[in-house]
Symmetry: D2
Subunit: 147 residues, 4 copies
């Protein structure tokens, strides 16, 4: 019998972050000003790790040298607009683990309506001796919690 690999979706844990759109998140056209979507996406990214039991970045800085998960690439496709009063759901998962980065993905909906899809590459950021940011190998302790 042939070995069938598990479908990737089997492994991908999904955690939902919810937010409500406020009046001030909208621009003169009355719709969400797009940088605010990235504000919520970043919150959804952090929320994912919190729900997986990853502690505050101050704590991981002390234990693992990880100061956060800086973004190195984002590709986002905006499908429908949103406005104040809307509740949005950010279904968040880690689609791929690489040696020194990971792919985090978001599917954002208002009820049945797709608002946007986003796929990012992030790193676990540490510091060089001179303070500059560098990509650390993905810490197994963190990966284990998130799978």
């Amino acid at each position: 019998m042939q070995d069938t690999p598990a479908p990737p979706s089997a492994a991908a844990r999904e955690i939902v972050y919810r937010t409500r759109v406020e009046f001030g998140d909208c621009d003169p056209a009355g719709i969400v000003w797009f940088p605010n979507f990235f504000r919520w996406i970043d919150a959804a990214s952090r929320h994912f790790f919190v729900e997986c039991g990853v502690p505050r970045w101050e704590d991981t800085a002390a234990s693992l040298g990880v100061i956060g998960t800086p973004l190195v690439d984002t590709h986002t496709r905006f499908v429908n607009t949103a406005s104040y009063g809307d509740t949005l759901e950010f279904a968040t998962s880690i689609r791929e683990w690489r040696s020194k980065s990971f792919v985090q993905a978001y599917r954002v909906t208002r009820g049945e309506v797709l608002i946007l899809e986003c796929e990012e590459v992030r790193i676990f950021g540490g510091r060089h001796a001179d303070g500059r940011l560098r990509a650390l190998p993905v810490p197994p302790e963190i990966r284990r919690r998130c799978e």
Copy 2:
């Protein structure tokens, strides 16, 4: 005599938007929190049209039905971090004109250092009768000013 198309770069007008990074633009890691880059990218997009002589969106709404240039896709690659006190330059151009959209691109630098590169698809947004947003054909009056 053969018709030789002008190289794309000949046609691509480039306009630079400058900003200074402020303390509050930075996160607890001391570097620019990435949604702020999109804030400046949106300002650079608008600045491009202003410098080309495109009037306020209230005016184009009245004359052409154009209420703005909503984003439909963005792909951004972050190369180096920035922090407060830095002056950033956003070299902005329109890389491609399509029938109902256009590709706007940004190369962001601090002096000689590349900070990020971004390529977006935007539309000229109008309204359906029920108020929903729709993509208008690129208005020739605007395209002519921007080339």
Copy 3:
């Protein structure tokens, strides 16, 4: 028998808005960057009206000429700092109704800890014929719902 006015606090309806502080709301010192408190205060102000049954500003613009509740004065006292992961409660009330303005107040806490207190003067904003903003008399329909 003498007419005794009801104490002001008897009439003051209080509605609580909750928010969670995100990583990106904090500055390089690791604490909430203060303009974000005003972002939430504005959301708490709108939330108050929503909970009282006041419709969207587009609707009140059509029915009453009210386009929103612009701020004319704010006095805010910051008592304790907050950081990401905190849940904040904004206890919101209208402390005083004047003929063309009202006083909205916020007491912001994290559990038992007082974070800040804010008192604002806002107006119900309408438009002059030339588009400029003006203060409308407080609409009785709105006041009635909010008391």
Copy 4:
């Protein structure tokens, strides 16, 4: 001969911070959403110290224990609205030095038009041993540069 104190205005150095209002700084009513004014006020506060030769907060943290100038009180009066395309000037000064705090004031104008006036109390923030923020005595080195 009687000792005559110099009038306070003689000592108050004024430094102007300039910003341009962007499309995304405005709300659905088409005017600046007020938390953005506080974003610029905070930038104007920092700009004041930069122009007086005060180094980055990382440097003052190392030399003086000062991690920044957290806000403890703000009173702001909004007089006229602003919209995208406007250039605003924030005339910034330190109105009063106290032993453990100072009063910083802003007069914000667009050309001849007064937009807002703001008066704040800030401290020079340091850390308790447990990390909590505390007000430091005003460092004479900083005060001298700013007068």
